[in-house]
Structure formats: structure tokens, C-alpha cells
């Protein structure tokens, strides 16, 4: 275990150095200018370029570019073999992958994700709902005892609880939209800076054998829990079958990406399509023209009842027998 941890550290250091070298080489000019000529006719955003070694991606045009920092870099990996096979380098938007680590927003997001689905079922009956207690236990005066009106008073042993928890209570609320988006950006930033972000071209693995995937995770130092995120929710068969059999490995579509899952899993594996989708959506959210409105929950308990609430007072005042 200790050895593997050390190896992981070494591997991370190596990757870090490589990235650093690439950054130092030139911040403005692309790698493509230095190494291989790339056909300029590729209109696609991140078009793989066919070379002798195989398809390679050497640049990626970013929407909403910024002028105060350089784009961050990540390897484009492949899952076709157990050993990692670098297909190219990707530019990542610094607004998404190099934001300030707002730990408070991270906590807010996790808290929101826990609380909005939490229902407190604790219930304590009130003094009116407990049996007995209608009679005055002893006379008001003349006994030298404290005056008491009911044996179910909260002062009594086995009496009711004053202001106890009442019934199922939901804690649903919505975190502001901007804070949810910022939480995602911060979580992605944390994953990237801790070198826990892996970007692959697709999830095509040669076999559906879970041993293959777990060995791949071992060899590449991905850790014990991995979150695989793809663009669509219809995943390739082999990886779905393999992931289903390994505890700690999870598949998720890009629209299901959330802060809690990202923090829970050690490594985040994105496909290129998922990266495009997530980055595009978060950038759109950053530059949106829409004015943020406060979420108001207009749902009342009545809306969840299967049948309308019966007004019992109406029946009580109804003295005449019903005629049919």
C-alpha cells in the first residue's frame, strides 16, 4: 500500500513537471506550431488530427477567452489499453479549472445536496394528544403541593414534551443558481489542481471484464473510487457492465454531475464530449443575460395529498339526516 502511494506521488510529480514544462515553453503559441503542422481546415472545436502515431489533439479553441491568465492544460488519455496512452494536450478554460477555491461554497453545495432531500420524521405527541390528563390530579389548594392541572403537563414525569418535533418536516430549499454553478467550478478546479482529473477520448474498452478496468485503475493510480462522466446517458455496453460489478466505480451523465459526487470519488474521468458540455454550460452560466430570480417554493402540503382534505367542521354542524 505504502509503495503504491509513493508510486502515485511520483507519477503525479512527473505529470506535473510535464505540464509545467509545457506552460513554460510558451504561453501564447500553441504546441502545434512547434511540433507538427495541423490542418487548419478542421472546423470542429477539438478535432483529432491523424498523424503517424495515431489521432492527436494539440489545441482546443476556448469560448469566452480571458486575457489575464493562460489556459490550463490536461492530457487527453485513452482507455483502449491498460497503460495510459496520451493522445494529445487539451486547453482548459481557467475560469472553470483555475478558479479561486471557495471552500465555503463547496460546503454550501454539499449541505444543500444533503438537506433538500432530507425529511425529519421525528414526532412527539403534545399534551392534548396523549391519553388521559383531563382530570385535575389534586385540588388547587390545601395540600402544600405545587398546583397542577393535568398529569400530561410537560413538568410531569411521563408528561408530554413542550415544543417537541412535529411530524414529517421537509428541509427543501434551493441554493441560488450562481452559487450552484460556482460550486461546480470550484469542485472541478480542486480535482484539476490535485491531479485527480482525467480526460479520455471515449469509454470504449476492449472487454467487459471488471478485472481489466480495476487493473487499469491500479496501473494509472486512479485510486479506489472513480466517477466516469460521459456526455449522454446511454453509455457503451462494456464499460457499463464492468463498472456495475466494481464497488466504488460509478458512471454518470454530464447533466448529473454534482459537487457531492465529485468530492466523494477520488478520481474524476471525463470524456472529451462531457468536458465540452460541462465547460460550455458553466461558461454560459457565467456570461448569461438572464437575471437571477429567487426560487420560491409555491407547493403546499395540500398539493401532495391524494384526496382533498375533508372539512370535518361542516359535518359536525350538520344536524339534519341526509335525504337520498
Amino acid at each position: 500500500m505504502a509503495v503504491s502511494k509513493y508510486m502515485k506521488l511520483v507519477a503525479r510529480q512527473g505529470l506535473y513537471c510535464k505540464i509545467k514544462l509545457r506552460e513554460f515553453s510558451s504561453s501564447s503559441c500553441r504546441l502545434q506550431e512547434v511540433t507538427t503542422p495541423v490542418s487548419s481546415s478542421s472546423e470542429q472545436n477539438a478535432a483529432p488530427v491523424e498523424t503517424k502515431e495515431g489521432p492527436q489533439i494539440l489545441s482546443r479553441s476556448l469560448k469566452f477567452p480571458v486575457d489575464h491568465t493562460h489556459p490550463r492544460l490536461a492530457w487527453l488519455d485513452s482507455m483502449s489499453s491498460i497503460e495510459s496512452k496520451k493522445l494529445g494536450l487539451l486547453d482548459l478554460h481557467p475560469d472553470i479549472f483555475a478558479t479561486y477555491p471557495r471552500v465555503d461554497l463547496l460546503h454550501k453545495n454539499v449541505h444543500w445536496q444533503k438537506m433538500y432531500r432530507y425529511i425529519n420524521y421525528n414526532f412527539e405527541p403534545s399534551r392534548a394528544e396523549m391519553p388521559g390528563g383531563g382530570r385535575k390530579p389534586w385540588p388547587q389548594k390545601g395540600l402544600g403541593k405545587a398546583r397542577a392541572g393535568s398529569i400530561r403537563s410537560p413538568l410531569f414525569i411521563q408528561g408530554a414534551k413542550a415544543f417537541g418535533p412535529r411530524g414529517p418536516i421537509n428541509y427543501f430549499f434551493m441554493l441560488p443558481r450562481s452559487q450552484r454553478a460556482t460550486g461546480l467550478r470550484v469542485a472541478l478546479t480542486c480535482k484539476y489542481t490535485q491531479n485527480d482529473l482525467v480526460i479520455v477520448d471515449n469509454f470504449d474498452i476492449p472487454t467487459a471484464d471488471p478485472d481489466f478496468l480495476s487493473e487499469m485503475a491500479d496501473v494509472r493510480f486512479w485510486g479506489h473510487s472513480i466517477l466516469f462522466v460521459d456526455d449522454s446517458d446511454v453509455m457503451p455496453e462494456k464499460i457499463s457492465e464492468a463498472v456495475h460489478q466494481i464497488r466504488g466505480f460509478n458512471l454518470m451523465p454530464a447533466y448529473g454531475l454534482n459537487v457531492f459526487s465529485m468530492l466523494k470519488h477520488e478520481t474524476l474521468v471525463l470524456t472529451l464530449a462531457a468536458l465540452e458540455r460541462i465547460e460550455g454550460k458553466l461558461l454560459e452560466e457565467l456570461h448569461t443575460t438572464a437575471v437571477e430570480t429567487k426560487y420560491v417554493n409555491k407547493l403546499r402540503p395540500e398539493d401532495f395529498r391524494t384526496r382533498p382534505k375533508v372539512d370535518s367542521t361542516m359535518y359536525k354542524s350538520f344536524t339534519k339526516p341526509l335525504e337520498f
Partner: protein, 203 residues
């Protein structure tokens, strides 16, 4: 699907009372929905979705002769609202007639800190008020909120405080620095002063 409906009808025909409502309820859409659920997700994915029931009964008031053209949708696109804030258009000279000018990148890169422009290309400097009681008297406290700060936030605060002290001649300017939230609050109605200070630093 046909066999399924026949079975349902047979089951219902034993009880004449419920035959009527059930036969009315068996609609094409209902049965197809049930069928798709029984078949499972694979069937759902492979086959076409069940035909939607057309709620429009009287079609006489709707136009009949029309042609669907996808090419001419480009004339509709400019009428749709813009989803993201567009970039700054190329102006011949700065400042523009409205007084706006872009950040000075050279000057800005020399500073230890950075105040980024908002998505609407403006400075993130916002004046505001809070209410405070001083000896049972309600007073209004004015402040200036500076957001989107990157880099050395304490250096910015020191520079800003010194600048405001020199400008106003006051011995003390009260500021509040939030290191995690990346913002600075300055007490007083100094929004214009703060903005001019930041413009002077190329922000």
C-alpha cells in the same frame, strides 16, 4: 399489442358493470404506454415512441396549405433574445461616447492584484447601505463593495486605503477584507473615488 387488448376485453366482459368505463379507458395511447413499460427500456429505445394523441379536434380554423422551410429560420434567429452577453465591439476610439473604456492590459499586468471586469464589461464596484443604531438613533451607513478581486487582496486594500486617505484628508478609512469571498468593503460614499483609483491602475 392486439392480443393484449383482447385479453383485457375478455377479462372485462365477465363483469358487465365495469365493461363500459374500462372500454372507454382503453385508448390507443394508454395501451401503448403500458406495452412499452412491460417491454422494458430496450424496446423503448429501439422502437419509435407511441403516437401522441391529437387533442385538436376541429382543424377547420387552422391553415392547411403551408410549406415547412428550415432555411428561412435564419430570419427568426436575430429576433430571439441573446443568451450570453456578447463581447465588446471594435470602437474607433476610447473612451466611447458613453464614457466606457477597456482595461489597460499593460498597466494592469504590473500590479500585484487584479480586479476583473464583470460579464457586462463594467467594474465590479457597488455602493450600498446598511442600517445601524447608534444610541437608539437609526443611522444609514454607506459602503462600497469591490468584488472579483484576484491576486494579493491585502496589497489592494493597503493601496486603496492610502489613496482614499490622501484624497479625503481623513486620518482613518475603515475597510473590511474578505479573503475567502474575495471582496473588499470600504465604509463611506467613495464609489467614484474607488472606481477612479481602479481605472488609474489599469483595471
Amino acid at each position: 399489442m392486439a392480443a393484449y387488448t383482447v385479453a383485457l376485453f375478455r377479462a372485462c366482459s365477465q363483469c358487465k358493470r365495469i365493461l363500459k368505463p374500462v372500454s372507454a379507458a382503453i385508448d390507443k395511447s394508454h395501451v401503448s404506454k403500458l406495452w412499452s413499460v412491460l417491454e422494458g427500456s430496450k424496446r423503448l429505445l429501439t422502437t419509435a415512441p407511441p403516437q401522441s394523441t391529437d387533442k385538436i379536434e376541429d382543424k377547420s380554423e387552422y391553415p392547411v396549405d403551408f410549406e415547412i422551410s428550415y432555411d428561412e429560420f435564419k430570419h427568426v434567429l436575430p429576433l430571439l433574445p441573446i443568451e450570453t452577453v456578447p463581447g465588446v465591439p471594435n470602437h474607433p476610439s476610447y473612451p466611447t461616447p458613453s464614457g466606457w473604456f477597456p482595461p489597460n492590459l499593460e498597466l494592469r499586468s504590473k500590479q500585484k492584484y487584479l480586479v476583473r471586469r464583470t460579464k457586462n464589461h463594467m467594474l465590479p464596484v457597488y455602493p450600498g447601505t446598511t442600517h445601524k443604531r447608534i444610541e437608539h438613533i437609526k443611522t444609514v451607513q454607506h459602503y462600497v463593495h469591490i468584488k472579483k478581486i484576484e491576486g494579493d487582496i491585502w496589497a489592494l486594500e493597503a493601496d486603496l486605503r492610502l489613496h482614499l486617505q490622501q484624497k479625503t484628508g481623513l486620518p482613518k478609512i475603515k475597510t473590511q477584507v474578505h479573503e475567502v469571498g474575495r471582496f473588499i468593503r470600504v465604509r463611506g460614499m467613495y464609489a467614484d473615488e474607488v472606481a477612479s483609483f481602479l481605472f488609474g491602475r489599469g483595471m
